[in-house]
Symmetry: C2
Subunit: 362 residues, 2 copies
């Protein structure tokens, strides 16, 4: 018999890897000691075992169900994070003679631009760089001649988010790493969606790719096996040994999402948390939001201090209240509160109370 | 307080993912519930946190120490398994005009051949395919004009292993997925070593790459960021979010290796296990070994039954004795006993006793 004990509750606002449901942590720990009472750890079972094959295929099915997608789409669990997808997407979709349109809304868009340029032409349709990426550009040039449009649906670093799906007549590709499954959404408007798992889905080490099959096989390019979506589809995400444990934790989290009431419930909960925090940022005389009102992210709230000399004092007050991961990314400075699905309202209430206390301290 | 309980001991001979030390499972489960008493799970801490940065850099250092390599080498923890390295190695090392020599000793070699052919010329120097990959070819044609030589040091599927390092004047590249850290070895004879973690090192989801820096940057090729060894080296294996948990478990296992007495102890232990099992295979009237005597793998013993109709009965007897993962790969049939570092002598003794019991049953 092994005893495990967590001593104190910490409010984890980290941007990713990030908070997951407590019950998922417990189930994952149990499976490491003894998976399903089999006397084996989840870390040592074969990826070809009936148990794991079942988990992997059920996880793929659950993703499709949550997204309400039909059989024209395939779901893959891969490795390498969204950063690998910056390269795999154009490798699979963009012919050497083609042009991809990319909307530049921050760090992740610029990385996607850099990788796509290795495979074809890139047209940066719009950029909010000069305004410190404080909004989502909404006016673009004509798209007719483009192979596809690439957007970053939520910008983890700058804290901006698309609240409307771009209406386009060309295939739409989205990096949804930091807002996948955060709200009811028309996923069928997209042709390719990818997301690193380590925010709303699971631990670092798994990447979800959802792709419309009709998009593939058109570049005329000879794609290395591990980079070829079609080959992964053919092998049902088991082309080689998948990251078993990371997929298992994603599967647990997907079940948790359903148990919570699905995307409708999570969407309401996330909106309530974001409203609570942004209202306080706007009200509180010490802080100001980084992003324009209409484009603020429900997942990652970025805010700075009017008097930047007091930043360290606020961080210390947060630490005293066991608030973790609140320090802003160096690109924006100040603070960032990531409120992913597993963060409950209580955590945000504690943060808001600490902001009020800080204001009172003067 | 959470209680976790493993009910019964199972002898896990799976080929990978595979057995790891019991203490590593316990430490990993503890860290998922509460990492270092911080009130956070290892699954939710930032990869940029001081704690994880320390673990990642210490893991890289420990690999180098175990291999007794100098500063001309770099150690990376990547994702995607050895299958990704089949493509990344030639992407980084093989100019379009170059030729790589590959010795074909089974499934993994043939996959390496297929991927390398996308980047340059491939010369298959020798192959044991016609003999069912039952040995390691030792005579090759001249190597002078080759960019590098690629070998698979241990063939997980066919159960053969190099017991001598090829003496060559060109760079030597090895896929060591299934025998890394299984014995004292002159790792400095190699210029590039890679290994999926899920045998002797950790769970599926991490891949070790050890590379001599002077080999890199010579192809004239524009390599996508995530496939470029030099870019990973520059970012000290944190180019993007690493697979935190998989790296953590590798780090625990690396410490366990040291605590056991390092590669000298493990080498002796592995030799004793292999001798015990192969002696029984050769002695027992029911079984025969697949691989020629001098090339048998100390990690994966492959053997078949003289009367193949009895195979199912033997598998059932194994299951009764809680022996797991003994069924052979379809390429060879029969049985495969993988005896990685974490498998103790007792496990092999149980298997040998079951083989004797089966023989007595007639």
């Amino acid at each position: 018999m092994i005893y495990f004990c967590a001593l104190m509750k910490v409010y984890n606002f980290s941007a990713g890897p990030s908070i997951l449901p407590k019950v998922v942590f417990e189930q994952a720990a149990q499976a490491i000691v003894d998976f399903k009472g089999k006397g084996l750890s989840i870390l040592e079972i074969s990826h070809r075992s009936e148990d794991f094959e079942g988990i992997l295929q059920d996880a793929r099915k659950r993703v499709k169900q949550l997204m309400q997608l039909g059989n024209e789409y395939e779901v893959l669990f891969l490795q390498g994070g969204a950063t690998s997808q910056f390269m795999m997407a154009p490798y699979n979709l963009l012919p050497q003679s083609g042009t991809v349109g990319i909307v530049d809304t921050g760090t992740w868009s610029t990385k996607a631009i850099k990788e796509a340029a290795l495979f074809g032409q890139v047209q940066v349709l719009a950029s909010s760089e000069e305004q410190g990426y404080n909004h989502i550009p909404k006016k673009w040039e004509a798209l007719e001649d483009l192979t596809y449009l690439h957007i970053t649906s939520n910008n983890t670093i700058y804290g901006s988010q698309y609240h409307h799906i771009p209406e386009v007549s060309i295939p739409l590709v989205a990096d949804m790493s930091s807002d996948i499954f955060s709200r009811p959404w028309d996923y069928s408007a997209y042709d390719l969606i990818y997301a690193g798992a380590q925010k709303n889905l699971g631990p670092a080490g798994a990447t979800i790719v959802v792709v419309k099959k009709s998009l593939l096989g058109k570049t005329g390019r000879n794609i290395p096996t591990m980079l070829d979506y079609q080959k992964h589809i053919k092998k049902q995400s088991s082309l080689n040994t998948p990251p078993v444990f990371a997929v298992y934790v994603c599967w647990l989290t997907l079940q948790w999402i359903e148990e919570q009431g699905g995307l409708a419930t999570l969407g309401k909960r996330n909106a309530a948390k974001a409203t609570l925090l942004y209202d306080e940022i706007d009200r509180n005389a010490c802080f100001k939001a980084h992003v324009e009102l209409e484009d603020r992210s429900v997942m990652n709230a970025t805010f700075t201090m009017l008097n930047s000399e007091k930043e360290q004092a606020f961080l210390e007050l947060c630490a005293q209240h066991r608030i973790n991961g609140i320090k802003g990314h160096r690109s924006v400075g100040g603070f960032r509160a990531s409120m992913y699905n597993a963060m409950d309202l209580e955590g945000v209430e504690v943060l808001v109370e600490v902001m009020r206390e800080f204001e009172r301290m003067g």
